[in-house]
Amino acid sequence: MASTTFISSFFSSPTITTTTTRRTQNNQTSLLLSKPNNPNSLSSSVSTNSNQRLAFSSLVPKLSDTIEAPEAAAEVDSTEVTTLVEEEEIPIEESAPKGDGLFAVVMIGSRQYIVFPGRFLTTQRLKGANVNDKIILNKVLLVGTKTSAYIGKPIVPNAAVHAVVEDNGLNDKVVVFKYKKKKNYRRNIGHRQPNTRIRILGITGYQDSPVVTLDDLPVAAAVEA
């Protein structure tokens, strides 16, 4: 419960509101009231508080790019993989060779995605992100490994997902056809939503946050072995 004190400050800072999900905005006031402060966890949470404040004061994504240095106010914060893969799953039948079993849940453009390192992901167009820009996604809601899960309340403190912008493109065309019968009203509009493809490089910074170690740890270890 080290992150409870953190949460009250998280929602009081004004910068958060633009990128939080709808649900969080509804629950903001109620959460402020319902979170008790844990005096035991104060020492650890104070540091996370300050870290988090700094991370969120810059708000929207930090673009640490090697090529250029724009101060883009891009909305890239966290986007995640679209592909549902069972790579991370601890194998119940031991034949499946998995990677690290590392995954994260990231929020980008107010949508949440499950991200695996090495895979790519298509998200809303990130303003100010050019091809081959390195991007750090800060809003990591959950990090899971083979043996444990780091659950963020609401985010995992100091966790970051590193990604590279691969491509800025457009979605497939959607035909928006509006028609009212007997009123001679029809509108035919085509629409292509801009998107950005991002390749995930890695997930860092989650090691020292509160862990929920899975109970079936010995089972998992035995299965993996």
Binding site: R23, V105, Y113, L141, G144, Y179, D216
Partner: protein, 125 residues
């Protein structure tokens, strides 16, 4: 050109609606209206599908969907239903830890939902 486009959109339609322009035009207009409406319906349908899946996943661990979501809200965990349903399918251990966190925060009703015990012949299944 418009005729050509309409007949392209009318591929797969039944009977003369795929071949004859006068009928195809009506059917294509209807199809486009349905797609406009259903782009909005799809969001609702997906959400209810996710909720069903989360419900199934949590009942395995003895918690129902309502108590589970309430516990998550109390804990300020902001994972949305899409991600929760995917976790419940593909990441069973992480999902179980989420269920434990939620149950700790909100114990819920005294009557815990127990997975149905198999009796009789269904025990063999």
């Amino acid at each position: 050109m418009n005729k050509k486009k309409i007949l392209e959109l009318a591929k797969g339609f039944r009977g003369r609606a795929k071949n004859c322009i006068r009928i195809a035009r009506e059917r294509v207009e209807k199809a486009l209206q349905y797609s406009y409406r259903d782009r909005r319906n799809k969001k609702r349908d997906m959400r209810s599908l996710w909720i069903e899946r989360i419900n199934a996943g949590t009942r395995i661990h003895g918690v129902n969907y309502g108590n589970f979501m309430h516990g998550l809200l109390k804990e300020n965990i902001q994972l949305n239903r899409k991600v929760l349903s995917e976790l419940s399918m593909h990441e069973p251990y992480s999902f179980k830890s989420l269920v434990d966190v939620s149950r700790q925060s909100f114990p819920g009703n005294k009557k815990v939902v127990i997975p149905p015990r198999k009796e009789g012949l269904s025990m063999l299944v």
